[in-house]
């Protein structure tokens, strides 16, 4: 698949914006579900873009910057998965698994950039001591531009080189490997779920996990409810969480008092 100059430029711009957006601005434009659709639009296959973006998004659901940790980079991973799926005609699950090395590369890139930016802070200190607001603003704009450029250039290089090199690689993949990658791609989301659990779970939370699991089995196996299943389940979950919150705030303080009163009344 050959790309026009316009497509290459558009992919660069999308990556530039997404790279900045992963830490600043809306912090949602960079999500694979969005970049998948946009890259699909640029490469002329929105349908594949949507499916790959959605599949990649499920994998990254738990791979968020929780507690400041640096997860495998969703910007490079999401964009490359879509590019691979469309330009090489790979199945979405396989494309997602194939893009993982790229996301790892992105993770290292971000770590490197965060380290290299540190010396800039002494310059910022100087501007602060001089009461120079424009200097502080410049440092922030400069940093964002650098981040966008690094990501944009790297992804554009992969994008141009990937299409010609990639086809030969795909042709050489045996059936067992593509089956295995496809199965693994479908399981990647469990990594995301497990990381979420790690951060949220403690002893009294297990019940709520299995409550969700059990209710979801019931709702998803009811034909009429299968499509809006997650929304219905979210409503149930919200009700439980809100009730718990009320128990612990408004009622929490008065509950023991009422209990004492009950004893006095001889009940």
């Amino acid at each position: 698949m050959e790309y026009s100059a316009l497509q290459v430029i558009l992919v660069f711009i999308v990556t530039f914006i997404a790279a900045i957006d992963q830490f600043s601005f809306l912090e949602s434009l960079y999500q694979p579900i969005v970049t998948g659709m946009v890259i699909g639009l640029i490469l002329g296959d929105v349908q594949t873009g949507l499916i790959v973006g959605g599949t990649y998004q499920l994998m990254t659901i738990g791979n968020m910057p929780i507690g400041g940790a640096q997860p495998p980079n969703a910007v490079i991973g999401g964009i490359m998965a879509t590019v691979i799926a469309i330009s090489l005609g790979l199945e979405p699950n396989i494309a997602v698994a194939t893009a993982i090395p790229f996301s790892l590369l992105g993770q290292y890139g971000v770590t490197l950039i965060f380290t290299l930016m540190s010396p800039l802070m002494s310059v910022a200190d100087k501007y602060a001591a001089e009461a120079n607001p424009e200097g502080i603003e410049r440092i922030n704009y400069l940093s964002m531009t650098l981040l966008g450029l690094v990501f944009g250039i790297v992804v554009t290089l992969f994008f141009i080189g990937g299409a010609t090199m990639g086809q030969a690689v795909v042709d050489a993949i045996p059936l067992w490997l593509s089956n295995g990658l496809s199965a693994a791609g479908g399981m990647m989301r469990f990594v995301g779920f497990a990381i979420l659990l790690k951060f949220m779970m403690n002893r009294d939370m297990w019940g709520f996990y299995f409550l969700g699991f059990g209710l979801a089995l019931v709702v998803t196996n009811t034909a009429a409810l299968a499509t809006p299943a997650l929304l219905i389940l979210a409503l149930i979950g919200f009700g439980i969480a809100y009730w718990d919150y009320q128990q612990r705030t408004q009622l929490g303080g008065s509950a023991p008092a009422r209990f004492d009163g009950g004893e006095e009344d001889g009940i």
Partner: protein
């Protein structure tokens, strides 16, 4: 020259209130909190960038502005979506010209709790729910998946940014107490919803199934055929009609679909005979059926539990988890054709 050792501003008179336009401008700028993120000061320069419009209005004295900018360039790291809460508080203190160590203490003390509450609210509740629902729509080919995701996420984000900015600025120090009072309950409630939703997602988005079949010998069954033939030829076929033709009252064979064998004398020298043909067929045990009869979605549940165990008890990094899943996927597919794929 301003330094971090300064404890008081030179101009100690309270500055006039910040107007709504400045507050809105800062709420908007707070989107760029992590613009110059780095490992040394983290969000410090972005934090200073965000509150600069307010600081410039409050500290008209240039030395005081330098002092304020200097102490606000210290290490700072907070949840990016809840930063305006800290901004409002710090600005209300700057405006009252409170001594710098106190401002610093409040700013630092906000880093921990707001981080936890923000993670619980955004990464563990809002993103799993909205991205979970919208990814499903996108995988189904709906272009509204990504659009709906952006709308939900940003509506919540901006409501919080602008709401917290105004609220915490007006409440000043009181806000800290009011938040601290119910924060534990709030974090817990958000975690309950998050855990519950992950339980749902394990089912709704866990397509993984072991589709292997195990051959378990063969079984014999009968298939019925009906013919019409001269009565004298019937005797020769009796062993295909009855289980034990020589018995006094022989039992008729019954086919797999419930048809019984039998002889019906038509009375014109012919008889209609329903006889059985023995068929041998292989028997397979379907692992998927067995697993589903224990509990549907058992495979996704087991993998999530295994990964949770590795992440929380064995200090696995997410990347190690991803590699492990890759290995499971490829091993299950029978590498180099060594064994049949279990993924069906």
């Amino acid at each position: 020259m301003a330094s971090n050792d300064q404890t008081e501003y030179t101009n100690l008179s309270t500055a006039p209130d910040l107007d709504q336009k400045t507050l809105n401008k800062m709420a908007w700028r707070s989107c760029f909190l992590q613009a110059s993120f780095n490992y040394e000061r983290m969000q410090a320069a972005g934090w200073l960038y965000s509150i600069l419009p307010g600081l410039e209005k409050i500290h008209t004295d240039k030395d005081d502005l330098a002092t304020a900018m200097t102490h606000n360039m210290e290490f700072f790291n907070i949840h990016p979506f809840l930063v305006t809460f800290a901004m409002g508080l710090v600005l209300s203190m700057e405006q009252k010209k409170i001594d710098i160590p106190t401002i610093r203490a409040v700013r630092v003390s906000l880093m921990g709790p707001l981080g936890g509450i923000g993670d619980a609210l955004f990464w563990m509740t809002l993103v799993p729910i909205s991205a979970g629902i919208c990814s499903n729509m996108a995988i189904g080919g709906s272009i509204f998946g990504p659009i709906l995701f952006l709308i939900i996420f940003n509506a919540v984000q901006f409501a919080l940014r602008f709401g917290l900015m105004n609220w915490s600025y007006k409440m000043g120090m009181d806000a800290l107490d009011s938040l601290m009072a119910s924060m534990k309950a709030f974090t817990r409630a958000a975690s309950i919803l998050g855990v519950f939703v992950v339980g749902c997602l394990t089912v709704a988005m866990g397509p993984t199934q072991i589709n292997a079949v195990i051959p378990n010998g063969t079984t014999e069954s009968y298939v019925a055929h009906t013919v019409t033939l001269p009565t004298e030829e019937v005797d020769g076929m009796l062993d295909m009609v009855y289980a034990d033709p020589s018995a006094a009252e022989p039992t008729a064979l019954v086919s797999a679909d419930g048809i019984s064998a039998g002889v019906n004398d038509l009375g014109n020298g012919y008889a209609e005979v329903t006889y059985m043909e023995k068929v041998t067929s292989p028997v397979n045990i379907s692992i998927a059926n067995i697993l589903d009869s224990i509990c549907p979605k058992l495979v996704p549940l087991s993998i999530v539990m295994l990964l949770y165990y590795l992440f929380s008890k064995k200090n696995f990094t997410p990347m190690k988890g991803i590699v492990l899943v890759l290995i499971i996927g490829i091993l299950g597919a029978g590498p180099f054709g060594l064994w049949p794929s279990i993924w069906g």
